[in-house]
């Protein structure tokens, strides 16, 4: 039996294409990109070795530092919001709506499958001002407020970007956490309730600790995707006003393909990769420490 499933020829036929593509088009480019971060220039003008100069440039480049902060702040606020909203929705599905939650669950999930570009254009128009004022400013006017030009400021743009992120992904995180909550045995909750735990107490001491593993993986997943935010900020306001809401990903893209500085762009991409790894490690460590105590 071992010999049959250890058949070399079969393994090579099935695995070789994937492995060759993966090594040639993923691992080699990653190494190439690592190497490029020590060079300056592009394919047409030629490259010159600059050592660690690109890294020095990164930490003294005000736009780079600004976009680093845009990415980090966006990731923290987006993750915080979508996990909290998702968790509240999941609690609503499991404990309030119970068997009848299927329709709400499905409807709230749907925006997740819409392209971010389409959602960004939708939100641009929802918050628009002027001749063709959108519903959001109509509501503000109705309550006696003045129309707000959200996309004219960086705080306004970030707010709209975060709201559209919550709008489109809270249903997804709700389903993710909902499946985790369903795994908690009914008897555990029932016996805690008999012991007098109710409401907030029940959630804090029984339900949150028991759903912690899925909560942690959701947070890690959320950080890894929101640190790479690109489409929403680009489509919403082109990283503006000015460069004030340009995330690291967009700055990298512009450096490479608008300013043709492949070396520096590779450095920015490497910084983004390190950032994702750092956040993942930090969440892992803090969660394992919590599990120990």
């Amino acid at each position: 039996m071992k010999r049959v499933f250890g058949d070399r020829k079969t393994i090579i036929i099935l695995l070789a294409p994937t492995l060759i593509i993966y090594v040639l088009l993923k691992i080699v480019p990653v190494m190439w990109s690592l190497g490029l971060s020590f060079f300056e220039g592009n394919t047409l003008s030629g490259f010159s070795f600059v050592g660690f100069a690109n890294f020095g440039k990164f930490f003294t480049d005000p736009i780079a530092i600004q976009s680093l902060w845009v990415s980090i702040i966006f990731a923290i606020l987006a993750t915080g919001g979508q996990i909290i909203l998702g968790y509240l929705l999941a609690l609503l599905y499991v404990f309030v709506l119970r068997k009848g939650s299927a329709f709400v669950r499905t409807a709230v999930f749907f925006p997740m499958v819409l392209p971010t570009v389409a959602v960004a254009l939708l939100f641009r128009n929802l918050v628009s001002v002027g001749q063709n004022q959108g519903p959001i400013n109509d509501i503000i006017n109705f309550f006696g407020g003045k129309s707000v030009e959200f996309l004219a400021s960086n705080v306004g743009t970030m707010t709209v970007a975060l709201l559209m992120t919550y709008w489109s992904s809270m249903g997804f995180y709700a389903v993710l956490l909902y499946t985790g909550l369903l795994d908690i045995p009914e008897e555990v909750i029932e016996s805690a309730r008999l012991d007098g735990a109710n409401g907030v107490k029940l959630i804090r001491h029984i339900i949150v600790p028991l759903s912690l593993p899925i909560l942690i993986s959701s947070i890690i997943f959320s950080f890894n995707s929101t640190l790479k935010v690109f489409d929403s900020l680009l489509a919403l306001n082109n990283g503006g006003p000015g460069t004030s809401t340009t995330p690291l990903t967009l700055y990298m893209y512009q450096t490479a393909f608008n300013y043709s500085d492949y070396g520096y762009a590779s450095t920015i991409a490497l910084m983004l990769t390190i950032l994702c790894l750092l956040f993942t490690l930090a969440i892992f460590r803090s969660s394992s420490r919590k599990a120990e105590s």
Binding site: L15, L25, T43, D138, L234, T273
Partner: protein, 302 residues
């Protein structure tokens, strides 16, 4: 908290309650249910109304946009905006490109990923765990890391004026997760299934085609949906390799449509976004259970 209020009491007190107490309790429960209903209504309005508003807007004329309140419904069911978006706005070409890129990419990812998953999980050989870890590492690396080298590579071999750069890049990006998910799905199949086939004289390659693939039909559809949505909705790769407007996918097309019409022509823009909403809604109505569980599995295992 509404959660605690709506949990039915199942203690001893309820059993001892008289008939009238039961009746008032039931009325009380309906009353306590009201905040929940309001909450659900607000939730559904927040989620659904913007989409409804966008689709309604796609039927409005430019004058309706400028002079009628934004809440009003369109006066006629006028498909003019759609015609304009599809013809002058290139949206039809964008859709064709999106299909020409997404379908081959998903097919390639599935063919390669399912085979690799089988080789890594069902086949027994030294070094399969390191290889699986190596592939897993690929999921962690952001796509930005490989864009510049790939762009240079495609430029050197002279394929930048075709859709191939996108197809190749999407395949490379999607392979690690698919291989990993397929390996996990194969792990859940009892080994005896494959061993029994071997007893009957089937070679491992034949077992893959005759048993492995049929057993994985559901898993393959799930992974296909995950990859379909991530490729269809992608902007970064599409934007990088769109060297000519005729190569633009629907996401790149939407982005340039916004620059092109911006604040001058709302109708075609609303129509172009609405086509997206309606098309995906139809897909979602038929496959929502599988899409939801698939996207959830894709994120948790990744």
């Amino acid at each position: 908290m509404t959660t605690s209020k709506t949990i039915p009491e199942t203690g001893f007190a309820a059993r001892r309650a008289t008939a009238s107490a039961v009746r008032s309790r039931r009325a009380g429960r309906i009353l306590r249910r009201i905040p929940v209903w309001i909450l659900i209504a607000v939730l559904l309005i927040v989620v659904l109304y913007p989409q409804f508003w966008m689709v309604m807007g796609s039927f409005k004329t430019q004058t309706e946009f400028l002079s009628n309140p934004t809440w009003s419904l369109p006066q006629y069911w006028d498909f003019n905006n759609y015609i304009q978006a599809l013809t002058t706005g290139n949206v039809a070409v964008n859709y064709r490109n999106s299909i020409l890129v997404t379908v081959p990419s998903v097919m390639l990812i599935l063919i390669l990923g399912v085979a690799a998953g089988y080789a890594l999980e069902v086949m027994v050989w030294r070094g399969r765990n390191p290889v699986l870890l190596l592939i897993l590492g690929g999921i962690m690396v952001p796509g930005q890391m490989i864009l510049v080298p790939l762009f240079t590579f495609y430029f050197k071999i002279g394929i930048t004026d075709s859709l191939w750069p996108m197809i190749i890049t999407y395949t490379v990006d999607g392979l690690p997760l698919t291989t990993f998910l397929m390996a996990a799905y194969f792990r859940s199949v009892p080994r005896e299934v494959f061993e029994a086939a071997t007893m009957d004289g089937s070679g491992p390659l034949r077992s893959f085609f005759n048993i492995g693939i049929p057993l994985m039909r559901n898993a393959i559809l799930t992974v296909a949906l995950v990859e379909f949505f991530s490729i269809w909705n992608d902007l970064l790769v599409a934007l990088t390799f769109t060297t000519d407007p005729s190569l633009a996918t629907i996401q790149v097309g939407l982005l340039s449509l916004n620059d092109q019409y911006g604040s001058t022509q709302y109708g075609p823009l609303f129509a172009a976004v609405s086509i997206n909403i309606v098309a995906l809604l139809i897909v979602f109505i038929f496959l929502n259970k599988r899409i939801m569980s698939g996207l959830a599995a894709g994120s948790l295992k990744g």
